[in-house]
Structure formats: structure tokens, C-alpha cells
Subunit: 344 residues, 2 copies
DNA sequence: CTGTTAGCGCATTCAG
DNA sequence: CTGAATGCGCTAACAG
């Protein structure tokens, strides 16, 4: 009982099947296949079925490289972030992926290791794909990067921070404001002797902004920091733990330490735990970010919560809502809030 | 003193500058520009300089969409991972970015939320870009995904796990082996009453493999688990903490609990800390992954370390070393090791 | 509703 | 060493 109809052989591995093959099998023109693949209406159902069947049988996958070239429509969005080891960036990426889910855009992602020259290379490489938009972290870029971004005419989102003037649109929160709020909150709680435990500012300008805000708050109250402990390199639980030990030795009078972020602060809590210090009576700790881990500590970490997921999501929404670059730069503030916790 | 030569106006924002414009300005043919932009040798230095200058002045950015179409060379590599909220995946991405740094490939990244249908869509979307390779997590794919992957003929790397037969190449470690090693190690240390604290297996098959390995090790010694505590949904410090409280109540005889991963285990440590339990005398805790956080706990977490960064890096190296899919599937074992710690 | 005709911007033969 | 021609695979007007 062998069927007599034309047997459709499965395509060889790697044999490229294009609109042409599909059109031949379905007995229609290439344009018709193209229309159908792009859900263009105005196609007879019967034709559509025939074409879809042929496409399925052949395992046809439309070539977006060709499609994008022909239509000049963008199908990619570039993302350039400093790193993935700081948990906040994966969180931003989650928001980006969530925002992208309802569109047909895909993300090309590069990391720079906080190196502006690498950022420049990444931006150049991504612009070559004619993306719908490019998302970056922060406002520090080389002049060449800035020039490329500007000339590209595409939408540019500077994420995380809103303390400078954006090229196009900035999405994030005010880190100086966060520092200020931290200081005022702790002063209101009665603290007077402040310490600061931080990591390298060269790489992390936003940590510097928060520090500045904190100092401003102290100055308002006629106070100033009693002690500093700053490590080289990136923030980490280990560094926070070590620096806390150091500051406790060098400046035992400090009542409360403000940390550059929650990773560092968790290190501080671990030091306190290991030493049997009572928090916040013997020593108070205040972080920044509102990481999940902080909430699950034996005593929840006092910190200032920001929403990194929202930053990524809003960034995508902004470019989806308005694909053309507007005449004047905009700022989208994703805010922050004090999380009282129990360590300060 | 106005120069008389032809003034080169800076291009308008968005005015597309192509090889054509550069060729016109530099007084050469488009082919010559193309050669130079691609570092092809066989070009006179003088010509090269003239062209480069023109390109720079015009702010020319080669269009990779067109380039890729014309040359049929791939410039992208696709990455499809379940999520970014589990820290291990950003770590894998770090390795991927590191591996990519020395190549001219860029990564298109999609997340699936552990949904095989979304994985299928992501794979389809990425294959449309004709990537050099596609990197996935695990071995569970829809038949359609498998078919596309197979027919694409490109390199396919299945990451994380090496407990099944790969389509092309698998890079990761044996999770069943890890579970086995965990059980044997703890039995050798004298533990006899085991509990298990885990998260949802439906989403995380590797957790299941580790569990199976653990049970096998217990069976070898004529033992079996005294207690289970499993939560719905993803792993988290909070869940680990809550389930630890539960298992301590329901099965107080348990000497040691094996956790599905370090996030859960850290939650267990926090519970112990909050309850004033002595680790490991009153209760012992063993994790999986070897996250940084575990090492900085007041008592370092006993766990089994894997190297996620290495998985990503090796995956990229594999495809760079051998761009053609080999005849027979391969396995790259990135290994694991016991980290003794102090909690078990 | 469907087919035909032109490119998209570049890389790649080939000639010179 | 350089230029002219051809086409990558697809979409976008146009006709019909």
C-alpha cells in the first residue's frame, strides 16, 4: 500500500531551505510564503495551510538576517552591562527579558568589566546589527561611544542611575538621593557616630554618589563620618566581613556603619554573628539594595530597597512605547524605599 | 583662511552611511572599502589610510546584517537558559562572555522560565539568526526543538549536566555523581540519620539527579532517608529556612540534612543561627554548588563545589575549537569537589 | 488574494 | 593592488 503521491523527502542535515524551496513545494510564489511567514493577513486560508504544511515538512526557518536586511526593521536590542557578578545586573537582565517577552525583539548582551574601552567596542559591535535600541549602565562613556550612540539615531537607555543628564532616556533611581535618605533616616533614629564600609569607587560611581549623599545628610545635621574602611576591587560578603572587623578595631566608637551595598553589609552581619555582637545595640548595620538574602538573615538587614528588575523592564517598555528618539531626554525614576529591618 | 578643499560635512543624525558613501569620499570602489574594513591584506597602505580616514570622518559602522548575509558567516552565538534568578546561570554567562571575548562572536540570550515551549520559541528565534552555535541548559527539549537543532547542523552545547546523551556536546558535571559523592562523604563522616531539604523537581531535573545519587549512596550503606521537606517553586534562602524549621519539628532525630543547593542550605544555617543550634553537633547541614556566600558564613558551609564559570567558558571554547559538528557526541566534565566547611 | 520586479548593504568571484 | 558584476534570502512596492 505504497502511496503514489510525490514523496517529500526530509531535507538533509544542513541543506539550507529557503522561501524558494517552500514556495516550490507549496506551488506558490516566494512573496506569498513571505507574507504567510510574517502573519500578513490577506492570504487565503487554503493557501496558508498548504504553505505552512510545506514549511513544516521542510523544517523551514526564516532567515532573519535576510529579512532584517530587506525590511530594514530591527529585531535586536543591545545590552551592555559592566558585569554579571554583581547580582544587580542579572536582575536588570531579568526585567529586560520580561519586557522583551511580549515583543519579537531579542537581546544581544555584552559585558565590559567596568572598562570604558570595552564598552566602546561592545557598542560598536552591537550597533553593527542595527538594533532597535541599546541599553547601557550609567553615564560614563568614552567620547567615541557617545558619538556613535548619538549618530546612530536609535534609542539609547542609560540604566541604574538618574543623577546625570541622559543622552536619550535614563531609567533608575537617584543614588545620591538614596545616600541622603539613608543618612537622614539613621540620624532620625538617633545615631550620631557613623562609619562607612565600602568598595572601590573607581569602578562603581554609583557607590560614590551614595556616599556623597550620606555625607550631605550628615553635614545637614552638623555631623561627619568617624571612620572609613574601603577595599580595593568589587564588593563581596568577604570584603564586608573583613572591613567590619577592621573598623571595629580602629574606631570602636562607631555606632552605625553604612555599607556600600548589601553584599558588604551581609559580611558585616556575619562578622557580628561570629563575634557575638548584638545588632543593633552593640553595632548597627545599614546596607543598600534590598537583596533577598538580607531579609532571610536571622535578623533582617536594615537597608534601602531599589528595584532592579523594574529598571530593566521599564527600559524596554520605554523603547517599545516610543521607538523614535524623542527630541528631549527623559528620566524614569524607579524609586527606592527604606526597609527598616532589624540591624539598625 | 578658509580651506578651499571640499568640506566634509558631518553626517546628519541617522543618515545612513554605507560602504558607498565611504567609497565616494575616499575615491575608491566599494570593494576596496569592504576589503579594508575586513582587514584583508593586499591593499596599499596609502589607500587604506585614505579609506580609514573617510570612514572615521563619516562615522561609518559596517552593517553586519548585510555582511553576514553576503558572506554567510555567523557572528552570533545563541544562549538559552531557564532563568537568571538562580545565580548559577549568570555565572555560566560570565564564562560565556569570557570565552567570547577573544572571538568576534556576540551572544544573543533568551530565558525560558523552565518552560520547554518557551525554549522552543527561543531556539527558533535564535536559529533564524544563523548563529555559529547554540548553547542550552540540560537535555530536556521538545521534539520540535530537537528537530530544529538537529537539522540546523550547527554546534549545539547542552550545559550544566552530563547525565544524559548529548545531541552534540555536553559541558557540565554529573549531578547524580555529585549526590552519590555527597552521601558517601557524609556516611564516611559517621552520619546515619539523613534528611533532605529540597525544592521543586519539576523545574529542576538536576536537583532530582542529585537526590537520586544521594539515595543510592545511602542504599549502598543500607540506609535510607528519615525525612523529606520539599517546597513548591524555586529554591531560595527563605524556603530553606522555613523547611529546616519544619523538618526539625517533624523529624527531630535527623542528624544531617542534605539540601538541594546552597541557597536552601544557607536558609538552614540561618534557621540554626536564629535558634541557637550548634552546627554540626546539634544539626548538620550540607549544600550544593559552593556559592561564595557559603564560605563567608560565620561557619563556612559544607558543600560540594562546582564551577559554573568554567561550564560557560568550556562551552564556548568547544565551539570555537571545532566549528563543525563532529560525527560523534562528546562530553566535557567540569567536575566538582567536596568543600568540607564546618557545618557537617 | 497572488505574482513580479527591485533592491537592502555587503562580500565575493572574477577581470584588469 | 583595485574595480565591476553577481547574489546572499528576504521584503516591499507594484501590478494584476
Amino acid at each position: 500500500m505504497k502511496p503514489t503521491g510525490p514523496k517529500q523527502r526530509l531535507p538533509d542535515r544542513k541543506s539550507k531551505v529557503t522561501v524558494r524551496e517552500v514556495a516550490l513545494v507549496a506551488q506558490v510564489s516566494e512573496s506569498t510564503v513571505s507574507r504567510i511567514m510574517r502573519n500578513s493577513s490577506l492570504v487565503a486560508d487554503e493557501t496558508r495551510d498548504r504553505v505552512m504544511e510545506a514549511a513544516r515538512a521542510l523544517g523551514y526557518v526564516p532567515n532573519r538576517i535576510a529579512g532584517s536586511l530587506a525590511s530594514l526593521d530591527p529585531f535586536l536590542v543591545g545590552v551592555v552591562i559592566p558585569s554579571l557578578s554583581n547580582i544587580v545586573f542579572p536582575e536588570v537582565l531579568q526585567g529586560i527579558q520580561a519586557g522583551l517577552a511580549r515583543s519579537d525583539l531579542q537581546a544581544v548582551i555584552s559585558t565590559t568589566d567596568y572598562d570604558m574601552a570595552r564598552e566602546e567596542a561592545a557598542v560598536r559591535g552591537i550597533l553593527a546589527w542595527k538594533p532597535a535600541a541599546i541599553l547601557l549602565a550609567g553615564f560614563d562613556h568614552t567620547v567615541a561611544t557617545r558619538r556613535m550612540l548619538d549618530q546612530s539615531g536609535i534609542r539609547v537607555v542609560e540604566m541604574m542611575d538618574i543623577d546625570s543628564s541622559p543622552i536619550d532616556v535614563a531609567v533608575g533611581t537617584s543614588h545620591r538621593g538614596a545616600g541622603l535618605m539613608t543618612g537622614r533616616h539613621l540620624i532620625a533614629k538617633g545615631y550620631r557616630r557613623f562609619g562607612y564600609v565600602g568598595h572601590d569607587w573607581a569602578a562603581d560611581r554609583r557607590a560614590r554618589l551614595r556616599y556623597d549623599g550620606l555625607c550631605a545628610a550628615l553635614a545637614e545635621a552638623g555631623l561627619s563620618l568617624c571612620a572609613h574602611a574601603i577595599c580595593e576591587g568589587a564588593s563581596s560578603v568577604g570584603a564586608g566581613r573583613a572591613l567590619t572587623a577592621q573598623i571595629r578595631t580602629e574606631a570602636p566608637q562607631v555606632e552605625v556603619a553604612v555599607y556600600s551595598n548589601d553584599d558588604m553589609a551581609v559580611g558585616g552581619v556575619f562578622h557580628a554573628l561570629a563575634q557575638g555582637l548584638r545588632l543593633p545595640e552593640d553595632f548597627a548595620i545599614f546596607g543598600f539594595n534590598g537583596l533577598d538574602i538580607g531579609r532571610e538573615l536571622p535578623q533582617p538587614l536594615s537597608t534601602l530597597r531599589t528595584n532592579r528588575f523594574l529598571i530593566g523592564q521599564r527600559a524596554i517598555e520605554a523603547i517599545l512605547d516610543q521607538p523614535e528618539r524623542p527630541a528631549t531626554p527623559a528620566v524614569i525614576d524607579t524609586g527606592f524605599e527604606i526597609f527598616p529591618g532589624a540591624t539598625a
